[in-house]
Symmetry: C2
Subunit: 278 residues, 2 copies
Amino acid sequence: MAARRVAEGQPGLPGVVDQVLQGDCLELLPQLPEGSVDLIFADPPYNLQLQHELLRPNRSVVDAVDDDWDQFESFASYDDFTRAWLTACRRVLKPSGTLWVIGSYHNIYRVGAILQDLGFWFLNDVVWIKSNPMPNFRGVRFTNAHETLLWCKRAPDAKGIGFNYHEMKAENGGKQMRSDWYFPLCGGAERLREADGTKVHPTQKPLALLDRIVRASSQPGDLVLDPFGGVGTTAVAALRNGRRWLLLEREPRYVVAARERLARETARLHVPLQAVGG
Amino acid sequence: MAARRVAEGQPGLPGVVDQVLQGDCLELLPQLPEGSVDLIFADPPYNLQLQHELLRPNRSVVDAVDDDWDQFESFASYDDFTRAWLTACRRVLKPSGTLWVIGSYHNIYRVGAILQDLGFWFLNDVVWIKSNPMPNFRGVRFTNAHETLLWCKRAPDAKGIGFNYHEMKAENGGKQMRSDWYFPLCGGAERLREADGTKVHPTQKPLALLDRIVRASSQPGDLVLDPFGGVGTTAVAALRNGRRWLLLEREPRYVVAARERLARETARLHVPLQAVGG
DNA sequence: GTTTTTCATGAATCCTCGG
DNA sequence: TCCGAGGATTCATGAAAAA
């Protein structure tokens, strides 16, 4: 059982790193040792609160995110949930560790305020600007073309934050990396799909986004934790950059997809590059 | 006195529109008629964590301290202040009116959560991306290259929101205007300066930013209110686009600068275009 | 085989008015 | 307050189909 294996993995979590643990993060996080994680990336439910069906101009129906895991009764219940998982994350974070959260305008303002209330200290807010967002079909608002990332440390006086400034600067053509990041949506070959072509996960994030986060804010050998692991994009980014990783995920079908994906990635890393094919 | 003149100007505020009223917005807003304003733009104080300039709800200065308890106190007092002015703004807003707030990561997450708690409903969040931001001199974070704007209506079921979709689409080369806006910082001839070259206002916003906001979310003849009027950029944008305007501003030196600026603008509008000089 | 056209789709808080 | 009619409304990408 996952719970026992987690409890055995101390210190440094040797028994559970590089694994996908199935379960609710509110149950699993308390079993991890305090101060054991270098970097946390979290993509929590957004609480979209969709009211009606939305039609495209050609009268087809938009496939909206209406999964059970995104349903909350009220702002208050969403806030309670947010406080709970952020508090649990803060406990397992090293004093020098940092945490990222991604969200949209539906939830990110609540998350940001709660982060501050819990004692986290913002390092940056970063905007992921989408080159190919979904349009506003009714022509009644601006195209919602970005999502927001919050990057923070554990406390205002936390020291020893590892920010790979020069690597980011080099990636940005020799100029300081800015808070506006440009990536397309996750699609094409990168998007995990069932045999019938449907999305495995409704909100799979682009690997390039996670790759930049991992390389900017962790060092080789660090432990990267994702409490809402989904189909494992965070772990793939960690693996490819020589970081250890740990995913928590509640939905069995996402756990299966993530484990298969990570197995493929691990095999791929052990094959000479020229044999992988281009 | 400002207070008496405000009280006289009902309904439709004929006595006070197109004026800069000197005074605290928490005192002036309650004197305005309920449901009389079409559009509000607010650029509230950001100085949440400058350690020496913490504000109470009445905007008096709190003695700064460093420990966690006082940090919480500063958040709480900023929240009280934010709730107070947003509640007062909501009262004067027409049912079909909308409100914009601009902020940075220091304050915008608290503002956003409070907006939701007060019943406002987000239409968009928009990021102002700066072509020439201040670099991060220490090389320890990403260049903070954007600020955030929240656009919301008075309530989830509010109807009749005027969004000039086609004008925005035309401005964006025939494609829907997106939530990422690109403007340089306010500088050059646009930046108001004292005789000795120092800035009149530390955070004067680019006129192009306010111009887009006014044209996107109000109609000619509408009344535009800015409760933190500063040196009057919102009013200039309103004036140039045929909207009525009303500024509230507490600092006498900003009031003077704004009145002089608006007088120049008004004179400019009454001179044939070719005589203005290009 | 190559190029062009068609079509599906992505974290979406997406209308207004009259009866 | 609810319901139905009327009317205005989409961009980038990639895969599939057609030329």
